[in-house]
């Protein structure tokens, strides 16, 4: 909570908006008793333009517009506040109940939501509002009507969040402990949707102000002689040209309030749910001069990849600390490290996809050409064609809305022209068969969600092979998979490597896993490569303490079945 508050305090626009909002609210509360005019006072100054005495002018009857605006603000804010409270209470109770119990209760609540959504809110409120206010009830009636119509958005939101929260282990844990549904709903679920509710409530506050003013505009809202901002604007419709102050002051005030409310909401949303800096892999890097000529460095060195002094920094935090690494053609190098060791960042910086909040320095030379600082289009000469990458989670790496075949086609037709469709499919089938995918032909017309995780990862590997790359970077390609499937994928990677003759950088947290595939192993710990040597030395004779520890802690099956060759 304190963190959230601190984050919000740092949100500049949100703070300014909050300040404006507070001033408005305070003004609505404090100023009216101090102001010389009450909103019902009729002064001798009829229809006067703004002056020192009447800073916003006066209306037809000679009432001080500032006093009226203050009163309008009080009413509008009061209504919006009540609407928000009412809508949030109804929405939260129904949303949590529906989300937690599901089935029949959920269906009933969702029908009720449909019922209210089917009726355009404003129109119905127009009607009900005329009813309620007709009986002389003013702001409270209006607030009740609007609140009872606007809860649906909260209910939907809360239900959605609860549906996903319900799947979380702490809810199951509470159930196992024997907690009652009421306890789970109000002790566990409601506090956990509270940030969503606060944000939704804030935004609803703005919507409620607009709804109230629209209703007043249509004549179904607050009734004179009382007033609201909406009513003030509505009454001044024909005064735009003749007495503009009557139209603009309350109108601009509505805009100011709603704008501040929305910005506060945005600030709260950011504070509750801090956005990592925008991820845009399409953005062009402009850190260095753009037309840097690929330069031949150290011509004698035939390394496919030569990384020198690579560092990645998030602000003051050094995530990768000046590492160097070389990969020879056809060589498999494993980069092993636990979470937070910087191994994945290293992988991303090799292909120019560091998050924008990270700053990478150092040199990455691929086949003698400097890669760092390339623009998007320059990168395209390497990506896919000469450097392929396989990512961790096969359930998200394939485009969910394209068929497998289409994704192969995309890879084969990097630029316009190129292969024909039939040729693309033929080659795709061939590649898929080479990684032991059965029914490859049929798979082409399937979508990723119709395939298993292992199958998807094999397809990702096949996609990496399309252009016979010089280097394949595999970033934890088996972490999300079962042990047997992991074995299949490892075998597939080996096949792919052999078939393309590519060098490979294999990034993993599992030391045991690299024993079978790597030629050399680099162990990374806290941003530094602590040990690098050939695969046999690492396992037989680890030098660094960290490597030793990793080896000793790795769970091992001690049984004959395994030890037998």
């Amino acid at each position: 909570m304190a963190v959230t508050v601190r984050r919000f305090l740092r949100h500049k626009v949100g703070m300014v908006a909050l300040g404006v909002l507070l001033i408005v609210i305070l003004a609505a509360i404090i100023v009216p008793p101090l102001w010389p005019y009450d909103y019902t006072d009729i002064t001798p100054q009829l229809s006067q333009a703004p002056s020192v005495q009447h800073p916003m002018g006066t209306d037809t009857l000679g009432r001080d517009l500032f006093a009226l605006v203050l009163r309008g603000m009080q009413q509008s804010l009061l209504i919006a506040f009540s609407v928000t409270i009412i809508a949030c209470i109804i929405g939260v109770v129904l949303g949590v109940t529906a989300g937690y119990f599901g089935s029949f209760i959920d269906a009933t609540v969702m029908r009720a939501v449909d019922l209210v959504l089917t009726l355009p809110t404003l129109a119905l409120a127009a009607f009900l509002g005329s009813l309620v206010t007709g009986r002389g009830v003013s702001w409270l009636g209006l607030a009740m009507v609007l609140g009872s119509l606007m809860w649906t958005s909260v209910a939907r939101l809360v239900r959605g969040v609860v549906l996903s929260l319900r799947e979380l282990a702490f809810v199951d844990a509470a159930r196992v402990m024997g907690a009652s549904p009421t306890r789970i709903m109000f002790r566990h679920l409601v506090p956990n949707v509270s940030d969503h509710i606060v944000v939704a409530g804030t935004l609803m506050f703005g919507v409620a102000i607009l709804a109230e003013s629209s209703l007043s505009f249509l004549g179904f809202g607050v009734q004179p002689p009382d007033t609201s901002l909406g009513l003030l604007v509505a009454n001044a419709q024909s005064a735009v040209l003749t007495r503009p102050w009557l139209f603009y002051f309350p109108g601009l005030l509505i805009i100011t309030i709603v704008l501040s409310v929305n910005y506060v909401g945005e600030g709260l949303r950011d504070a509750f749910n801090p956005k990592s800096s925008p991820t845009n892999p399409l953005a062009t890097t402009r850190r260095r001069s753009r037309n840097r000529k690929p330069q031949m460095r150290d011509a004698a060195n035939h390394a496919v990849l030569k990384v020198t002094d690579l560092s990645v920094r998030f602000g003051p935090l050094e995530a990768v600390n000046s590492i160097s690494l070389e990969i020879q053609p056809g060589e498999v190098v494993a980069l092993v490290g636990e979470s937070g060791s910087g191994k994945s960042l290293t992988g991303l910086s090799l292909v120019g996809l560091l998050p924008s909040s990270a700053v990478g320095t150092g040199s990455v030379v691929f086949a003698g050409e400097e890669l760092s600082g390339l623009a998007f289009e320059q990168w395209r000469k390497y990506r896919g064609r000469r450097i392929a990458m396989i990512l961790q989670d096969p359930s998200t790496t394939l485009n969910p809305v394209l068929t497998v075949g289409a994704q192969f086609e995309d890879s084969m037709k990097l630029d316009s022209g190129g292969v024909s469709r039939a040729e693309a499919r033929r080659r795709a089938v061939e590649l898929m068969e080479s990684v032991a995918i059965k029914d490859a032909e049929a798979r082409l017309d399937q979508y990723p969600h119709q395939l298993s995780g292992g199958m998807r990862q094999r397809i990702a590997i096949a996609l990496a092979m399309v252009h016979d790359p010089d280097l394949i970077i595999a970033d934890e390609p088996t972490t999300a998979l079962d042990v047997t499937v992991q074995a299949h994928v490892m075998a597939t990677l080996a096949v792919a490597r052999e078939r393309t003759g590519a060098a490979m950088l294999f990034i993993t947290h599992d030391l045991a896993l690299v024993a079978g595939i790597a030629d050399r192993v680099a162990v990374m710990h806290q941003g530094v490569i602590v040990e690098e040597s050939d695969v046999f030395s690492i396992f037989d004779n680890p030098q660094a303490d960290y490597t030793k520890r990793l080896l000793s802690l790795a769970p091992r099956i001690t049984g004959k079945a395994v030890e037998k060759p």
Binding site: T60, G134, G219
Partner: protein, 557 residues
Amino acid sequence: MKASRRLAVAVALAALAGTAGCTKIDDSANTPTSSSEVADGGTLTLAASSPITDWNPLSAAGDTTGQRQQQWPFYPHPFLTNPDTSVVLNTALLESAKVVSASPMKVEYKIHQKAVWSDGTPITGKDFEYTQAVQDPKKCAGCKAAFTEGYSLITSLETANDGKTVTMTYSKPFSAWQALFNYILPAHVAASYGDLATSFNEGFSKNVPKFSGGPYVIKDYQDGVSMTMVKNPKWYGEPAHLDTITTRYISGQGAQITALQNGEIDLVYQNPTLDTVNQVKAMNGMTVLLGSTITYYHLGMKTTGDVMSDAALRKAIATALNLDDMRKRTVGQYAPDLVTMKSSAYVPGQKVGGIDAYRDNTDELNIGKGDNKAALGILQQAGYRVTDGKLTLPDGKPLRDLKMLTLSTDVLRMELAQIVQAQLKQLGITVVIDPADGSRYSPALRSGSFDIMATGTALDLGALSLQQWYGTNAARSFGYSSPEADQLFAEAATELEPAKQVELMNRLDRVLLADSVVLPLFASPQMAVYPDKFANIFINPSKYGTTMNVEQWGLRK
């Protein structure tokens, strides 16, 4: 420029004219331009706030302000109201119409030979006969007529001279006889629709009239969008000038003004507001007419109930209220020549049979001058006290809040209510305003759930207009009952002599004012705005509106 003495023709306003050099505002615009100065041909589009929902102007559903005005041009009418409120014979239709016998009252109408419907059928006594029958519950119980007073007194109707002379006999004198037969329905068209009730309730109500007995005939009607009229080829009166008159339906007053500003329409005829007046003043080349009507605004007080039954309290309120201030703060801002009314029986300048009918009745009663001191005196004499700025009843209890009922959609009435609230505060009386929407206003009024109210009344029916409010057992629940007033209502309703009638009405007015059941405010203002190229469009003080002289409208030569 001196304010017009010619009755209600408005308060056409030098003060306003001075501020907007480009716009002509003068009362000469409300006087007919001779027809030699008006060209033939041309089109005009005017705005109406709501479409016609019932094509029978005499039916309960059809007899509304907007529909009366829109339908005027295609019906024959025996009498016309001049811009100066005088009621004159429609000489295009009738040679004469007069009371030929006082007891029993007999009225004779002589129709011009040339007067025909647009299909060539002559306008005759048959049409009068049909029009009377459908509005007489004795003859047609199922007819949903808006108004049956007077018609039901007609016991016989004789025609002569090929139907061109009609004589009707009344069972008792009816002073407002000129207001009858305001729209004459074609009997021959009715016959094609079926019997009395069917033709009246269905035939005339549902069908867009193809007939016309007036200067124009409907050519095209798009429901809710527009009504287009062209000249009636068989029109028997002074020839009309404009070829086409189109009515466009624009519901908001402000929207009508902007449409005028944008050149989408040519004529706006509506109640003025400060903003609309100022807005049209700022437009180039517009004729702006501001005038008053024989409908007037007034306050009413309930005379029954726990506190309002005390005449002293009512009298004190009537004395404390400042009616002139109310006028100044409302209509006074855009129609400064509109005067505060001193009578609830006639509007200033109103003439009845050529006699000036309007008298100053409030001043002598010291009503409506904002005299708080006198009001307090009245109250203290009756045992009321003011403690801590709150009025207490003679029994020592504080006076409850008084409820002012008002129509929430009527800006002017809302404003009046707020001024009443502010003014009575000084007397220690708290007024709560109950803004009712259309559907709640009249039930609240009928059930008497109010103490004070503000409304408007049209005075076109003389004594009848007042009787509907203040007669014993009137539909409106002021709870007022005065034998003296009832007696005067009865006498005035049957008095055919204008001078005597005026005398009776003014006596009646003083009775009502003395009992503080009504407080007159000012005549209801009207505004007409159109480009200078048009002429002869006036503000008409009657409830039938500006189209009364539609055949005279035209383009300036």
